[in-house]
């Protein structure tokens, strides 16, 4: 597999980060920045982490942005639900452990799914076993909502066949 584009994209994003955060544009500091960018890319290559998993530039751009906005909405709804359960005087939680099936074909897709589950309050992914994700949910309703697979379908949309 060709890994040059991933190394290039990592290098460019690191260089942009340096230029943004440093704020000093003298020859010495720019040279230091170039040195650190090259060092990081070299170390990444040596550790064999620069590939489509470490730097997923193959994901579709527009659906990813759309997915983030959708995820933000879900996070806000889930936050309000969990906050209500925290503040309610009588105990209003029913912790459940469920296995959720993920329909993503690639590892990156599954990782995005598991991370999105964890990022949404009320559900935490505990372990991934092939295409089954073990999920701990704060309430039985939350587990049922996850089982409908809405989030799963959204992620399958941004995933491109690799």
């Amino acid at each position: 597999m060709n890994k040059i584009p991933h190394a290039l994209s990592l290098g460019i994003s690191l260089a942009l980060l340096w230029l943004l955060l440093s704020g000093h544009y003298t020859v010495l500091l720019l040279a230091l920045g170039l040195g650190s960018v090259l060092l990081v890319v070299y170390l990444g290559r040596r550790m064999d982490v620069i590939d489509h998993e470490g730097h997923p530039i193959h994901l579709k751009f527009k659906p990813t942005l759309f997915y983030w906005v959708w995820l933000l909405k879900e996070i806000i709804i889930a936050n309000i639900d969990v906050s209500r359960r925290i503040l309610s005087l009588r105990s209003d939680i029913s912790p459940t452990v469920v296995k959720v099936k993920s329909s993503q074909k690639t590892t990156v897709g599954r990782v995005i799914y598991a991370n999105s589950i964890t990022l949404t309050p009320g559900t935490v992914s505990m372990s991934i076993d092939d295409d089954l994700i073990l999920v701990h949910a704060l309430s039985a309703e939350g587990a049922a909502a996850l089982d409908e697979g809405k989030m799963d379908r959204h992620i399958s949309m941004i995933e491109e066949d690799y």
């Binding site: 980060l17 943004l20 936050n79 969990v82 925290i86 105990s91 964890t118 309050p121």
Partner: protein, 105 residues
């Protein structure tokens, strides 16, 4: 115009502080480790998101806003990974999650 932005940023800050407090109340109140993870994610998602938005509305330079966006992106990317690692380690360490069928508190 300035007043509108001020009021918006103040309400974001106050709402963020409110969700922060709710999160730590949950952290203290919930019965077992796995349920406390959910309370912690309230702090790490909406609590920090609202506070950072409130700060971004008060920022005067564009660079500050970019840094705040970077900050929230870092928090949003690292916090689920840390939560997942914690849950996995707890499961690995033979910590059984309490489920509602055994105990309702």
């Amino acid at each position: 115009m300035n007043h509108v932005v001020d009021i918006l940023s103040w309400s974001c800050l106050l709402a963020g502080a409110f969700f922060l407090l709710i999160g730590v109340i949950g952290l203290l109140r919930f019965p077992d480790f796995f349920t406390r993870l959910h309370a912690a994610s309230v702090i790490e998602t909406l609590g920090s998101l609202l506070i950072v938005t409130g700060l971004a509305l008060q920022a005067e330079q564009a660079l500050v806003i970019v840094k705040l966006i970077l900050l929230i992106v870092f928090i949003m990317f690292t916090s689920p990974t840390a939560a997942h690692a914690l849950a996995k380690a707890a499961l690995h360490g033979k910590l059984e999650p309490v489920t509602s069928t055994e105990d309702n508190n």
